[in-house]
Symmetry: none
Subunit: 255 residues, 2 copies
Amino acid sequence: MVKYTVKQLAKIAGVSVRTLHLYDRLGLLKPLLRTEAKYRLYGEKELLRLQQVLLYKELDFPLEEIRQILDDPKFDLFEAFATHKAALQTRKNRLEILLKTIDKTMLELKNKNMLNHEDLYEGLSKETADTYRKAAIDAYGDEVISKAENHLLKMGKRNFEQLKAEQQEIAKAIIAKMHLSPESVSVQALILRHYENIRQFWGTAHSEDPQAEAYKGLGELYLTDERYTTIDGKSNLAYAQFLSKAMTYFAETQL
Amino acid sequence: MVKYTVKQLAKIAGVSVRTLHLYDRLGLLKPLLRTEAKYRLYGEKELLRLQQVLLYKELDFPLEEIRQILDDPKFDLFEAFATHKAALQTRKNRLEILLKTIDKTMLELKNKNMLNHEDLYEGLSKETADTYRKAAIDAYGDEVISKAENHLLKMGKRNFEQLKAEQQEIAKAIIAKMHLSPESVSVQALILRHYENIRQFWGTAHSEDPQAEAYKGLGELYLTDERYTTIDGKSNLAYAQFLSKAMTYFAETQL
DNA sequence: TTTGACTCTTACCTTAGGTCATAGTTTACC
DNA sequence: GGTAAACTATGACCTAAGGTAAGAGTCAAA
């Protein structure tokens, strides 16, 4: 009957002694017995169990769940795996998006020769522009979608990027003026730029139709769905409300 | 001059008050001033800085690093991003392989109608090292290897030692599992770490090229040249064979 | 018998905050 | 002006999975 001390078992399994102490306290791996001096002694069965623990640990299961799996033979292993897989999948997707964002940002760092984080901030809030497009789509249904997207396609990539960049600038400028009234001239001047920009996205720059209601509607949409005013992944209610107010005022007085 | 209380700023930025307390204590975001009752008051600049903090946080930067980036305008942003990206990439690769492993395992659970974790555990001492003596030495050329060795020369000494130490760790962990099948999930999880390590040796961590053949080739090299599988000064043939088998299996099923 | 290696428990540290608890402050309403 | 509600401050303890260290006890070889 072979017995292992903590040090021996730790070395065999490639973990630290502290880890074995912890597993003992968590009930994840109890020693076979204790000597009268309280020394932990492990047998073959314990080594085997430890291997199993490490197996699940490699798969990123939390220790508590591992304990349940090993202690309860009726544990629904398949279910556990399925759940776990979904969690891993989510993390992977998130990492993929992060990687894309970082790639994009590094490219901008290179191209624009940006020197500090403030410029970077500008670059990343570009996502804001995308939300405007989604807003237009959701607000006006499929037929307007396709018309608008057709327009975007004809517009060409350079102009598109141009408009997006401009929107990002506008959004940043508006945020910087949120301490003023949405009806202030200073803000309304920015709203005008915002309005012109939106019209170009919509492809209705030369349309004779009244755009006032549409623009007001877009502003209200910003209020009801915070996805459209998400900045850098954080919804910004204050910004949504401010922007919406400013847009409504603009539409009522200028259009 | 607009001032925000903690609650207001928290709401605007979409974080908790506790978070602002924490950021204050960490020196990540200090309030503009304190009232005589010690209340924190933030201004526009603080709001802007908070936005930046959240931006980097979204990208998974640790808070301490964010503080450095924001406080030191000469901080090498590009370098920081590159390092960070590599870390994220490694995590993503790891998740990808874990997902494949879990898929495979779930498939086995289905097919073999396995009911508990013990069934997952294959091949207890049923296969000895002698089984692997059927070495296939002449399958792959070593032109891939010479390319790798070139890279090692270019790699700095510090990184080299780091990676070497990690390899020794992995090797010991693998040896501890040689009583299992090289194809067992438990061993394959370690092989994943080995694989990631090797890729860094090769300098191909971000390469999109298929690495399967190269990795398999390396495994077979272990069989022919015992310099590559020397542990603590002793060559270990059984380990070489075991490792080689595990690597081949890994390359064929995961890559 | 002494030394060195090993082991024990206890406890504090790490991330990025969450969740109370207690006490002081400001605002709203009557 | 008084009171109650809402807000704020600090401090403490909690999370996962251990790392690191302190202080004390134990074992084996010289």
